[in-house]
């Protein structure tokens, strides 16, 4: 009896020891060699192949780099995972940064100023980058990120479905100058009523949690979350109330927008229009039906185009700052930036040429000019704030009050301001 137990304990300990050794995180290969790590929120095979290719080329001329790793983090929790890595002492060397986090990361000194490298590297042509695109990422004497994706929001639509529903084609409406939110709602309603299980429009980036994407709707009504300096809450302004009432009607009166808890997929073919960013529409080429692309509809107050941005930065808490900055400059020089065009709209002027864009992506030249070139130059970046992570939870949970059929819109928006104004001060 005793021997049996002792044997079990011994076996268990042996297994445990082997397992313990086996699970040690992989150490760096050689002493003196540098391994760089970049976090990103995409796990798309094409994106990864693109970056790996650039990395391989870089390694050829830089023997001190042992490896460059690309780590795909889940998009929904990207910011939180990244900040936990940083706070936990395990900061990556490079990272994709969301536009909504730009101000907060800068305020906490998390992003490295890479302007020196950009200016001193021959052929980098920093002046090619459209100044508007750099807005979030630069101050007078510093640049904190390369805006590797400047992606306008647009409406993709299923032309076949809309035609079958008897509604007017959005591109035709646009040409007539009548592509407004009111008309868009009509098209959506027609598609919804056409067949059970259809929805007129969906908005995946928003999906009832990503509230700052709603700027794509409210800006057309002349509304904004807060004033320019971020010190006064304007969620309860009349334009905002109007825009949210309009949106609420689309969801609960027309029912042309899926209510919370209902999963829809534009690429499955039963959704008429989808409000998405260009950079996230990689699946379009696989569609079996005729599709169209138009800019965001005009609102009653303004024709507001909205851009989402993503920057690529070096993190100040990285242990290999210089090596990371050198790689960043290489990966975003004119030659490599040209490779991004097929996935991410670029903000280097030569790459904003409609001919170049339409060759690399699925858009034709007219669409490319309309959406990408004009969108980037005329559009405004999504809402951000230096204290975003403090107020985000409050905004999201208070705005939740809007997403039910008997919502009191004015009251809810007032609540948002009451709650966040003290912090905005």
């Amino acid at each position: 009896m005793k021997a049996k137990y002792l044997k079990t304990i011994a076996a268990g300990s042996a297994i445990a020891l082997v397992a313990f050794i086996g699970i040690q995180p992989a150490q760096a290969a050689k002493k003196g060699s540098i391994t760089l790590r970049m976090t990103m929120w995409s796990s798309n095979a094409g994106h990864l192949a693109l970056f790996k290719g650039i990395a391989d080329e870089y390694k050829k001329t830089h023997p001190e780099i042992a490896d460059i790793k690309f780590e795909s983090l889940d998009f929904a929790t990207y910011t939180q995972t990244l900040t936990t890595q940083i706070a936990g002492g395990k900061s990556p060397d490079l990272a994709w940064i969301l536009e909504k986090d730009a101000q907060q990361f800068r305020a906490n000194n998390l992003l490295l100023n890479v302007q020196p490298q950009m200016e001193t590297t021959p052929g980098y042509k920093i002046d090619e980058i459209a100044p508007g695109a750099l807005g979030l990422w630069k101050s007078t004497r510093a640049v904190y990120a390369y805006p590797f994706s400047t992606s306008p929001f647009a409406i993709f639509y299923n032309a076949d479905l809309i035609k079958a529903a008897g509604a007017e084609d959005p591109a035709a409406l646009y040409d007539k100058g009548q592509w407004t939110w009111a008309n868009a709602a009509k098209v959506a309603k027609a598609v919804t009523n056409y067949e059970k299980g259809n929805y007129g429009m969906n908005f995946p980036t928003f999906n009832y949690t990503g509230w700052n994407g709603l700027a794509a709707v409210w800006r057309g009504f002349g509304a904004e979350a807060w004033n320019k300096t971020g010190t006064k809450c304007t969620f309860n302004s009349k334009p905002m109330i109007d825009s949210m009432t309009f949106f609420h009607n689309m969801i609960y009166k027309d029912k042309s927008f899926p209510a919370p808890g209902i999963a829809t997929d534009f690429f499955a073919g039963n959704v008429g229009m989808s409000l998405i960013q260009l950079s996230r529409a990689a699946n379009l080429s696989t569609m079996k039906w005729k599709f169209g692309v138009v800019p965001l509809p005009k609102g009653p107050v303004a024709d507001a185009q909205v851009i989402g941005q993503a920057g690529m930065s070096v993190l100040t808490k990285s242990k290999n700052r210089k090596a990371a900055a050198d790689f960043l400059v290489f990966a975003t020089n004119p030659e490599n930036a040209a490779k991004y065009v097929q996935y991410f709209p670029q903000s280097r002027t030569p790459l904003m040429d409609p001919k170049v864009i339409s060759k690399a992506s699925i858009l034709n030249e007219a669409q490319a000019k309309l959406i990408v070139a004009d969108g980037i130059t005329k559009g405004q970046i999504l809402t951000s704030h230096p204290k975003i992570s403090t107020i985000e939870l409050t905004i999201k949970s208070t705005l939740d009050g809007l997403w039910k059929s008997d919502a009191n819109i004015t009251q809810t928006l007032n609540d948002v301001c009451t709650k966040i104004q003290p912090t905005l001060r």
Partner: protein
């Protein structure tokens, strides 16, 4: 003097009573069984059928690819191994600590023993979120926060070990004295008494504790979520919610396939061993 009526308590139920009991139990079992059923069936459906209207009880269209997707989207095999090896180490450590400690608290008098035991019980009440923050900072300062160390140490030495200690102490309290006293008269040291007499007889209790500890580590979510930040290091509970599309909504069929994979081995072991397992828990248990 057995009255005929007494045997009713111990006799087998028959007739309408039995039928009634079965009906009640089957109805109540539904929320316990159906989730597992749905998990397996949905994991094999193509995405359109997952939300098809009307819902299908058995997949019309079997898609093994969902399971392949699991391995394509994440380094799942490696993550499986992470969960497994961590759970094994935690189990070995917890059993060792809880058994030796439990014996000490049950059978050996030392100063302040009872007071310390009550103090230890407060560990049971401590919400993990409370202790996690300082432990997180401690790990960061000592440079250990990017390894498996916290995920192993916290269950093996922390509140869970106290639960194990409590169970083992309870078990050893009921131990008959005579065996040990006889051994001591023969001149064995207290520790050898423990090793040679008490330990071998504690088999069932140790087995139950081992199973409980393994499950506890296998299911740990908060600590791995906070301390493991690289996909290669993730354990299964952290990975499961991450099978999402580019917009952050879950890819249900793939996510449930991953959940099935994480549940199947545990289920198999359980089904094979459930009789011993449930009895073992009763034995160490809180009969009072």
């Amino acid at each position: 003097m057995r009255n005929k009526r007494y045997t009713r308590r111990n006799s087998k139920l028959t007739g309408w009573r039995l039928f009634g009991i079965y009906v009640i139990l089957i109805l109540m079992a539904a929320p316990f069984l159906f989730p597992t059923w749905w998990m397996f069936t949905a994991s094999l459906k193509p995405i359109e059928e997952v939300f098809s209207f009307p819902s299908s009880l058995i997949p019309n269209d079997f898609r093994i690819e969902n399971y392949q997707e699991v391995f394509r989207l994440q380094p799942f095999l490696r993550q499986y191994w992470n969960s497994l090896s961590i759970a094994l180490i935690v189990t070995v450590l917890t059993v060792t600590i809880a058994t030796t400690g439990g014996y000490a608290f049950a059978r050996i008098k030392f100063r302040g023993r009872n007071k310390i035991f009550v103090l230890l019980l407060t560990a049971l009440l401590m919400p993990a979120e409370v202790t996690l923050i300082p432990i997180f900072r401690l790990m960061v300062k000592s440079g250990l926060s990017d390894s498996f160390f916290p995920v192993i140490i916290i269950p093996a030495f922390g509140a869970h070990a106290v639960v194990g200690l409590f169970l083992m102490r309870q078990f050893f309290l009921d131990f008959p004295n005579e065996l040990e006293e006889a051994a001591e008269i023969d001149g064995l040291s207290r520790f050898r008494v423990f090793m040679k007499i008490a330990l071998p007889l504690a088999g069932p209790a140790i087995a139950s504790l081992a199973i409980l500890s393994f499950l506890y580590s296998w299911n740990l979510f908060l600590e791995p979520l906070v301390f493991l930040t690289e996909p290669n290091d993730y354990t299964l509970p952290v990975v499961l919610p991450q099978f999402t599309d580019t917009y952050g909504s879950p890819i249900w069929n793939v996510q449930l396939a991953a959940a099935s994979l994480s549940v199947i081995p545990v289920m198999i072991v359980f089904v094979m061993a459930q009789r011993h397992f449930i009895r073992g828990i009763t034995m160490t248990g809180l009969k009072g």
